[in-house]
């Protein structure tokens, strides 16, 4: 009975700390922000009676509790094929430290394509947990626009969710492109497509073609020197064999990439005018940008 009660509850705190808060950090795009970051996992129900695992990385205080300053805008993240959610924690930590709450559905077998509505279900769960007593109480504002980011195969799944669920107002394709059957040309909401120049896993022509189908405000960026597995930690041998080598320091290349991602999120989720201007200008260090 105790187990049943635990299962039925919203996540209780504190979370596992990933980063201590520090007012010394600028939080400029491409850099960590002043918030701490912590993660927590919980389960929710999907498709009547399936269990869906959800990982949330949130702005935290030094003890792993939700930081003051919320509610925080939501960024849903969809993992790449056969890549674990945990391998993207560097990115989730960066986003949380800048004041975003990251929610990632944990897909069966690491294949998001098995259930392309999992991120929407995970977002609903976070919204419910935000209204209940627990670690994430007050963390988000239900109904507020969210962004969805996906890497590789996760980007294709994220595009499906972006098209089918208007809560996801903004789409970020990280080394990815929408599938042919996903009608992204019918959506006029903002989107970002960003890929590394040294990425030999994804077909750059398909990335470019997918980007051209986007009908709303859009930005295309090619991060000079970044490859495919540079987007996640602890790549396996199979990830490295198929990919090109990094051409530069990974930390620098990631900073160049996240400078664009952070600017995109700041511009649309926060309606930050400086970020909107930066997107319009399209000048980012280490990134070739086209409108």
């Amino acid at each position: 009975m105790l187990l049943l009660l635990v299962l039925a509850c919203a996540p209780q705190g504190p979370g596992e700390l990933l980063l201590l808060p520090s007012s010394q950090r600028s939080g400029l795009p491409g850099e960590q922000g002043p918030y701490g970051a912590a993660w927590v996992r919980a389960s929710t129900t999907a498709r009547v009676d399936e269990r869906l695992g959800v990982e949330v990385v949130f702005p935290s205080d030094a003890d792993g509790w939700l930081a003051e300053g919320g509610p925080f805008p939501v960024v849903a993240f969809v993992q790449g094929g056969l890549v674990d959610v945990e391998q993207y924690r560097w990115l989730h930590t960066q986003l949380a430290s800048r004041g975003y709450l990251v929610v990632a559905a944990r897909h069966p077998g690491g294949l998001a394509m098995l259930a392309s509505d999992d991120s929407a279900i995970a977002l609903s769960a976070v919204e419910r947990w935000s209204e209940r007593e627990g670690l994430l109480q007050g963390a988000v504002s239900p109904g507020e626009p969210a962004a969805i980011l996906g890497h590789s195969l996760g980007g294709a799944v994220g595009a499906i969710e972006w098209v089918s669920d208007e809560r996801f107002q903004y789409l970020g394709l990280l080394a990815s492109f929408p599938a042919d059957f996903t009608p992204v040309e019918e959506v006029d909401r903002p989107a970002l497509s960003i890929v590394g120049s040294a990425d030999l896993v994804v077909d750059h022509a398909q990335v470019q073609a997918g980007y051209e189908r986007l009908a709303g405000p859009r930005l295309y960026g090619e991060v000079q020197g970044l490859n495919h597995h540079g987007w996640f930690d602890d790549p396996k041998a199979r990830d490295i064999e198929k990919d090109g080598p990094l051409k530069g320091d990974l930390e620098v290349l990631r900073a160049n990439a996240t400078r664009v991602v952070d600017t995109f999120l700041d511009a649309w989720l926060l309606q930050d005018q400086e970020a909107l201007n930066a997107l319009a200008t399209g000048e980012f260090e280490g990134v070739e940008v086209s409108p």
């Binding site: 299962l7 389960s43 129900t45 009547v48 009676d49 399936e50 269990r51 098995l114 392309s116």
Partner: protein, 177 residues
């Protein structure tokens, strides 16, 4: 008695009862996502099951024999108590099975519609939710001594109105007498 060791993802079905329709009177399913036990009384069956601790379901099955028992239609329905997100569920489904048996080898092909609906409580999508899987399965059965042993695999899609289609798959191993 038939026991099933099952691993897989994303779908619920009164699998124990379908397995027993090979020749058994009782069945058990152990594993993820589905665990269940079932009993037959003539052409009626009853199964109690749980999926990944999301709840407890009780389902009845009516077996309709045709073609000297080689082709079979099953109608199953029941109720579930869900506790991960509190609520009730209802199940209603059809399964069509075709069996071929030789002295040492058995094969069962299945086409199933194990549909379910969330009845009460908070829905994950904040609206009534219906789950409509369409599944196709294959099950082999070998005679090893006094035991029957065989693999099982099912694939399909799950439709939830208003949501994109999801894929569903599960594999299992049957052991029985």
């Amino acid at each position: 008695m038939i026991a099933l060791l099952l691993v897989g993802v994303a779908f619920a079905d009164p699998l124990a009862l379908r397995a027993t329709s090979l020749d058994g009177q009782a069945a058990g399913v152990l594993g993820l996502p589905l665990s269940s036990v079932g009993l037959w009384a003539e052409d009626w069956g009853l199964a109690v099951g749980s999926r990944e601790l999301t709840g407890l379901t009780v389902e009845g099955v009516r077996r309709m024999r045709r073609d000297a028992g080689q082709t079979e239609l099953q109608i199953h329905g029941g109720l579930g108590l869900l506790w991960l997100e509190p609520g009730l569920s209802g199940q209603l489904g059809l399964s069509l099975l075709r069996r071929e048996e030789s002295r040492h080898l058995g094969w069962t092909g299945s086409f199933s519609l194990p549909w379910s609906m969330r009845l009460l409580g908070a829905s994950p999508l904040d609206r009534p939710e219906v789950r409509l899987p369409v599944m196709v399965g294959n099950q082999l059965r070998f005679k090893i001594g006094e035991l029957h042993v065989g693999p099982l695999a099912e694939l399909g899609v799950v439709s939830v109105p208003g949501r994109p289609l999801s894929l569903a798959a599960q594999v299992g191993l049957t052991v029985g007498d």
